[in-house]
Symmetry: C2
Subunit: 211 residues, 2 copies
């Protein structure tokens, strides 16, 4: 098996085109949702004729499914950071940090997710009911154990996860609103770091007994 084989011009052109279509699709789906997105606008942002887009992705829905699949993968990747620590404070802080970083690094992914939920999750519904539901159940069990051990205050773990998701994804989904409230400027790296620390501090403080 060859490693890092030099791509033929053909293959790399294909790769580049698919990438540029994919990126353009992400931005359009994030902004307008599936229904509001048009293949013409995606092609325009990708800088190619519409017919060329349909050569690489047969239908708008096929393209959308590719995009959402990646979003779900990224979500799960960030979720894994919850499991890397045994201490509740560390696990929660790591998870919130990872979710904040994801919202900052890839706001479009979060917005695609949000749009999908807003229209009733016709495409990722299965994922929510199976993979996500299972993830939540098992992490609820972990949090419940911590509560029983007196390491966290009494609470319903599920609603705590909702707060984490809401508070972190807000920085992606409502970036436009934050910009409007920040003198038209996007949050600087310093502002974002402050926000991130504060979200972690407030949520930790909200559920840790020793404070």
């Amino acid at each position: 098996m060859s490693v890092a084989v030099a791509k033929t011009p053909r293959a790399s052109v294909r790769e580049g085109r698919e990438k540029s279509i994919f990126d353009a699709a992400r931005s359009v789906f994030a902004e307008f949702g599936f229904k509001g997105a048009t293949t013409a606008e995606i092609a325009r942002r990708a800088g190619i004729p519409k017919a060329n887009l349909h050569y690489y992705f047969a239908t708008k829905e096929a393209l959308y499914r590719h995009v959402t699949a990646e979003v779900l993968t990224d979500w799960l990747s960030a979720a894994s950071s919850f499991d890397e620590k045994d201490d509740p404070a560390e696990a929660i802080a790591a998870y919130i940090g990872a979710k904040m970083d994801l919202a900052r690094a890839d706001p479009l992914g979060s917005r695609i997710w949000a749009n999908e939920i807003l229209r009733g999750a016709p495409v990722i519904g299965d994922f929510l009911e199976t993979t996500l539901a299972n993830w939540l159940s098992s992490r609820e069990a972990i949090v419940r154990r911590w509560i029983d051990q007196g390491k966290l205050v009494t609470m319903e773990p599920r609603y705590f996860f909702y707060m984490i998701w809401a508070s972190t994804q807000h920085y992606a989904d409502f970036e436009g609103q934050m910009m409007a409230l920040n003198g038209g400027q996007p949050l600087s790296d310093e502002q974002f770091e402050t926000a991130k620390k504060q979200v972690i501090a407030t949520l930790l403080r909200g559920v840790m007994p020793q404070f």
Copy 2:
């Protein structure tokens, strides 16, 4: 001036039609955003021919502006509950409670707002930059005073408000996701009350020094 004058059949028919169109428009805009919404679907949900819809609202955008105006009014109405108490814990709890109740009573309004932000707030942008920015500034000043008085932990008030908005509106915008994670069932009244209490408790605990 007559009070509660009996409406003529004509006037009340007009009122009823406008209301049913308005409600249908709310649900379609909430689900698909402005771009994804179609006047045909709005008319279908209102149970009238499309031409009749255009008799009452000349354009899709005019209808959308009517809908958003109401959303902003409701937002400000809930916001006023922050000012009714002098004690920080009471003010914050009242505000979170009001925002939770609004998300529960009118999830569509929150979703219309979310869709508007996702596409860059072309219609409510002015509101965000003026009315909302002013509201936030003045309440930041109040929170800062409480911090100086040692009634709240040191923090950046703005990011705390973002957490409140995120955590509460999440119950409207992501209702579909919560349903999928709740065995396909919407949150019961009891579940919602538990969630509401927990959001208040966690956020209060997160910023109150005495805990």
